[in-house]
């Protein structure tokens, strides 16, 4: 009995010793600490039409990075919240992401309106945010020093289409838009830019976003004998304005600027008005119509195919911009690691960055702290009511020649 017990202890001691020795050489895999990224888009409320595809585009970019092995072995931990189309809620969620979840960066939301209260938090906590800043100069640079634009502003839509209008011989412009600061800013932009291109703004009308019929005001604009019309305003307002313009007999090109550049918002646009509608947008909106020689076509098509495979729907303006935002974060992380200050410096110095989802070349404008895209990368599209999708009409690049 004593001998048996003694033998047992010896055996156990040998086994434990061998195990300890072996453990030095055979180590279990060490799991790298994840890099936390916040995804904050409006999946409820009035901006959900942009927020939902935006969220999907951002998630696709981040999940593709994880599928490719993460950032030098470190996986991305994606934390998703709903901004609820509301600036206060977006601000609360941002604080949660930064203070509680300790994210390295945030992407979203989809519009400058719900993002309005986030910029100060980004500066206070030094966490970069990738979202929409409307257009250059909407905010002073020091107020958005930790925020990075991912969409491109209404001003480039306007400028791209003005060049297109010039190329088709337009001389007299009229403007119809929403009675808000963006509307008033665009009027100043049109006056400045159109005159450089030999065009004149001959009439302006503004109306509340809730208008249900604006034919009277369109009739006033028609009396100015314009060659082209610029319409600003999203949702039903934009469609009503374009329909009413056609209704009063203004059968002229219409530059549409606003939210109705994703298919879901164009249901109310009549077939007559749709023939006149033109918008300068990034290439993903009508990637299928890009020239075969366009170097961006293969990349954008690959992103569009991946998006469709994952979500069963076509990529659109919002999802492609958010995808680019996600890729911007991924490439910054690869370059500098999970260092918010390093990410900021990387993006502050962005020059000619090739956005894979939209084919744009994006450069930081330091005087506005705004990442602007090159308007030569935009295309002119119109909405095809029958096919329910956008069709490319021209390249802005060609109109600039």
């Amino acid at each position: 009995m004593k001998t048996t017990r003694k033998r047992l202890f010896w055996v156990m001691g040998v086994v434990v010793t061998i195990t300890l020795v072996l453990s030095v050489f055979i180590s279990a895999p060490v799991y790298a600490e994840a890099i936390k990224i916040g995804v904050l888009f409006s999946t409820t409320g009035p901006f959900a039409g942009f927020g939902k595809p935006g969220q999907r585009g951002a998630l696709l970019a981040l999940e593709q990075a994880n599928a490719a092995g993460g950032i030098k072995g470190q996986p991305l931990e994606i934390i998703v919240y709903d901004a609820e189309s509301n600036a206060d809620q977006a601000s609360r969620q941002t604080k949660k992401l930064i203070v509680r979840d300790k994210v390295t960066a945030i992407i979203g939301p989809e519009s400058w309106r719900p993002a309005a209260l986030m910029h100060a938090l980004a500066i206070e906590h030094k966490v970069p945010i990738f979202t929409d800043l409307a257009s250059p100069g909407t905010y002073p640079a020091e107020q958005v020093s930790w925020t990075f634009e991912i969409q491109g502003g209404a001003d480039t839509n306007l400028l791209g289409t003005l060049y297109y209008f010039k190329s088709i011989g337009v001389k007299r412009l009229v403007f119809f838009g929403t009675a808000d600061p963006l509307g008033e800013k665009l009027i100043k932009d049109i006056n400045t830019e159109a005159s450089k291109l030999g065009m004149t703004l001959v009439g302006v009308q503004l109306a509340p976003q809730t208008s249900t019929d604006v034919t009277a005001q369109m009739a006033v604009l028609k009396e100015k004998n314009p060659n082209a019309l610029v319409v600003l305003g999203g949702g039903p307002f934009g469609n009503i304005a374009m329909n009413n313009a056609f209704q009063v007999g203004m059968n002229i090109p219409v530059n549409y600027i606003g939210a109705n550049i994703i298919p879901a918002y164009l249901e109310g646009l009549g077939s007559g008005a749709a023939k006149n509608q033109r918008s300068a947008v990034h290439k993903a909106v009508a990637y299928y119509d890009l020239d075969e020689t366009d170097p961006a076509k293969p990349t954008i098509t690959a992103v569009a195919n991946a998006y469709r495979a994952k979500y069963g729907e076509e990529i659109n303006w919002a999802s492609a911009c958010a995808y680019d935002g996600g890729r911007m974060i991924v490439e910054a992380l690869k370059a500098v690691g999970p260092d918010p200050q390093g990410i900021k410096k990387y993006c502050d110095n962005l020059k000619n960055w090739e956005a894979p989802g939209t084919g744009r070349h994006m450069t930081m404008l330091p005087e506005y702290h705004y990442i602007q895209h090159d308007i030569r990368d935009l295309i002119i599209v119109r909405w095809d009511v029958g096919e329910k999708r956008f069709r490319k009409v021209a390249n802005v690049r060609d109109a600039l020649k």
Binding site: P46, A179, V204, L206, T210, Q217, V220, P236, G272
Partner: protein
């Protein structure tokens, strides 16, 4: 001449929309003194149900039309049974607590909007015009055939409701309830049934209005709110408690807005239309508080 006609047509288009909203609002007020802030949501549900049934259904148009009205009638019945009737049935002789019902209908409005968002999402939806969407031109000014549909149906509804309230027993019972519930009850009128009927009528009008206007304005979950506000202004301007007043008031608001929008106030003319309609309303009410055609019913609200 062309511009004047275009302003007239623009005013008639928006005014006829406001008239339909005002009619539905007035019918409930006439029977129950309830200011139904959720009337706009009846339009929204009618328009979006019509859109859904057109999209997914193989049913013929008349059946889709009736089904859409039926859905809104069901909602209005539930609204009445769950929210209004418990208060009315406690003591039918008591006067309606206006503020309490106002707050209740505001709450119901938000609930219905939430339901609309869940069912139809945030994007606006459209349906085809009833006939062509090619505008008709008269002396250079254009009007859509859909506007003529709205005007025509508004006129038919006006005639039917006017006849109903003036010549039918049920219509007279409804007016009696609005003037004095206690006396009406004592005379054997079932006040609860009358209020239920008012909600059914109002729901039907809301559904019809929603289906008529959606081809022009599109419809989204919050699309009824602003229309309801303009409808209330129209109903008050025309005379709260009168059917003809509701139509006249709605048309007046639309015409005033259209005229003001083209006053040469620079680029803010369009913005002024929102303010001027309200200023003119305040002016008329200062001179005639019961509205243009209002009678005793309008005074109760003061």
């Amino acid at each position: 001449m062309t511009l004047f006609l275009q302003v007239l047509f623009s005013g008639l288009t928006t005014g006829s929309i406001y008239s339909l909203v005002a009619l539905g609002f007035t019918v409930i007020y006439m029977a129950s003194r309830v200011l139904n802030i959720a009337q706009g949501e009846f339009l929204m549900i009618g328009g979006l149900t019509f859109y859904s049934l057109l999209t997914i259904s193989w049913l013929p148009m008349p059946a889709i039309f009736l089904a859409s009205v039926g859905v809104v009638i069901l909602v209005s019945i539930l609204f009445n049974k769950i929210v209004i009737d418990p208060f009315v049935s406690v003591d039918v002789s008591r006067e309606v607590p206006i503020m309490r019902f106002l707050l209740i209908t505001i709450a119901v409005s938000y609930i219905l909007q939430g339901g609309g968002f869940i069912l139809w999402g945030s994007e606006p939806h459209s349906v085809p015009h009833f006939s062509s969407d090619t505008p008709l031109f008269f002396f250079g000014a254009s009007i859509l055939p859909q506007t003529l549909w709205i005007l025509g149906v508004t006129l038919i509804l006006l005639i039917l409701l006017f006849t109903f309230f003036k010549y039918s027993l049920l219509g007279k019972a409804m007016k009696a309830c609005s003037e004095n519930r206690a006396t009406a009850s004592l005379l054997g009128i079932n006040v609860r049934s009358i209020v239920l009927l008012a909600f059914i009528l109002s729901g039907s009008i809301g559904a019809i209005a929603g289906m008529l206007i959606t081809p022009i304005t599109t419809m989204a979950y919050a699309g009824g709110v602003m229309l309801m506000i303009k409808g209330i202004i129209g109903a008050k301007l025309g005379g709260l408690g009168t059917v003809a007043g509701a139509v006249l008031g709605g048309l007046a608001v639309g015409l005033i807005e259209a005229m003001v929008s083209i006053i040469p106030l620079g680029m803010h003319g369009g913005l002024m239309r929102e303010i001027c309609a309200l200023i003119i309303l305040l002016g008329i009410l200062a001179i005639k508080p019961t509205g243009l055609l209002g009678g005793a019913a309008g005074e109760v609200l003061e």
